[in-house]
Symmetry: C2
Subunit: 342 residues, 2 copies
DNA sequence: CTGTTAGCGCCTTCAA
DNA sequence: TTGAAGGCGCTAACAG
């Protein structure tokens, strides 16, 4: 009680019983006298006793905490995914510690080691755009800390992954653009080392080929996931002759940047250039025209990843599930590709 | 080592020295033989030893962790503020556990007790829109857990608070609307129990009065901070005769909802109705027209709150700082109030 | 410079 | 049904 926090010792002393009895009473053990139990429980309530999770963790050798490493909160995808993670974790009585890598590999490594020191029971990871070395993660596995990847995953490690069908989403987006008559479709692509970038680009290229449209290097502009990069990339596209008649962007944020530039240049969306994004961030339905996009079940991705991780943590049979869980995307057609009939 | 995690015991055993020596060597104590230190440090590195923070916390009686309770990650203000908090915490070698209340008082209370069980050293709180009872927070103080409020604060508790000058921001917004000739200015206001709502509304009303404009009940529509509510509120405004010629919204998200409705109804922004928001979320410069808004230093708010909290935690002289730290806002004029000269 | 002892708050045998 | 004892991994005196 000296620290302001009540302990089972305090309760034991006041009731003249042993701490062991208090501990058992509080955890509702079978062989406990009804009266002593009542006394303990009511005194605990009165003193507002809260079990010290730290002490519990030390003896139980598990913290009931999972760590999450994401690139940044500021990408709406992650804000939503984390909500899903937290909901699922809370349901199972788990705490969540979230770290941001800020897209830096170095920070990501530091995050992982911090979480290891915190003795989290498992970690959810979405890679930084820089990450190409995976020692820090392999190291975790050796220590018996469970890992599940989500969204930005690494495929060559024996761990579970939760992703959407990026390829299919990209195919749907590209086919949609082709279906409205576009023939010169540009792609603003994501960081090359991330599989989500690769898959989306592959979907784009394969679809062009399927419809016998030429795949042109100049129409594929490397980008990251930021609006700033979308702005820059769009400026680059505007140098081309002839101009593209459509853009498939690797993310909504990139698409927003591109839209801004096009509008500044008096280019009409969708008449002159149609645009499709990826994710369906809340902003997608607020811009003008509203953005056609490949919607991802962001909240559900978080939930699923958390559920998988918790499953692994509590699995008695440690048969590592190294499958991809693939969630569906959904193309949402809006004004940036099809003029709305007002 | 049985648990997969290396402990100082493992190191001690392998080196045939005591755990105390290992502990000291690892923490770079003065009176340690250079050679044993080297041996310990290098073996620790080899085994990839990570100190067990749990055990450290138990003996040090501090966890080097702070808790954060926010309404939701999905409000961009908080995504950014948390980045500020984490940066500041990381600098001081603190971990951060973030909980969302989802705007529910009940969940907020649960969050607080979870954090108390986790024995965080301090908590940053931004209240849910429902919260009008503060027992859970007063309870924390009794246990010696430091608290700092930010953004959505409660003024009748002896704790530090970090806010922006909401009143002044609202005055600037309203004066700007008046300066461009608007006389019938509506206000979409926030939840009534939050001081940020009250202050922004007060700034609006005082400014109208200052300029001898009538303050009309029908022009003040209660809202929360969501786009959905902005949509609904705008529909309500459209029932009025005559229509307002300007809207000051309690947040950007609300303003986005209102803009959407106005555009659907063919009302020209800013010619027919000018709009001002609050916060300067990233989306504000992406909508069309881009949104005039009262910018808040979101990242800095988080930083400041964290810095204050860490200061209190490490304060030897426990003189409770119960002052408001008031940061500045900045009116950013864009196309939703002043037609840009293209 | 280093080892021994004790204890952080709690849980878990083992006896009683 | 309950208490005593030992230990989770680490730190903090106190000797030596």
């Amino acid at each position: 009680m000296s620290s302001g926090q009540v302990t089972i010792k305090d309760i034991a002393r006041q009731l003249n019983i042993s701490v062991a009895t208090v501990s058992r009473a509080l955890r509702d053990f079978p062989d406990i006298n009804e009266n002593t139990k009542k006394a303990v429980v009511s005194l605990a309530a009165e003193l507002d006793y809260r079990p010290n999770q730290i002490a519990q963790s030390l003896v139980k050798r598990r913290t009931n905490t999972i760590g999450v490493v994401i690139p940044t909160f500021v990408i709406p995808f992650y804000a939503s995914a984390i909500s899903g993670i937290q909901e699922e974790a809370a349901r199972a009585n788990y705490n969540v510690i979230v770290c941001q890598s800020n897209e830096s590999h170095e920070t990501e490594v530091a995050n992982i080691y911090t979480l290891a020191s915190s003795r989290v029971d498992g970690i959810l990871v979405s890679l930084s755009k820089e990450t190409t070395n995976f020692e820090h993660l392999q190291c975790l596995q050796k220590k018996g800390i469970e890992i599940v990847f989500f969204n930005r995953v690494y495929d060559d490690m024996p761990v579970a992954r939760v992703v959407v069908d990026d390829y299919e989403g990209a195919v749907a987006a590209t086919e949609h653009l082709i279906s409205i008559g576009r023939k010169r479709i540009a792609h603003l692509s994501g960081p090359a080392n991330l599989s989500i970038s690769q898959e989306r680009q592959r979907g784009y290229i394969d679809t062009l080929e399927k419809y016998n449209l030429p795949v042109s290097e100049e129409l594929i502009v490397p980008c990251d996931f930021s609006t700033a990069c979308g702005i820059e990339a769009a400026r680059q596209l505007l140098q081309l002759h002839p101009l593209p008649d459509a853009i498939f962007a690797v993310s909504d944020s990139v698409a927003f940047g591109a839209m801004k530039v096009l509008k500044q240049h008096g280019i009409k969306i969708p008449e002159d250039i149609a645009i499709v994004g990826y994710t369906d961030e809340p902003t997608a339905s607020l811009v003008d025209p509203d953005l056609t996009t490949v919607a991802q079940p962001t909240f559900e991705i978080g939930q699923t990843a958390a559920r998988l991780l918790l499953g692994q943590i509590n699995e008695q049979t440690k048969n590592i599930v190294q499958e991809r869980t693939i969630l569906k995307t959904r193309l949402i057609i809006r004004g940036s590709t099809v003029k709305s009939k007002v």
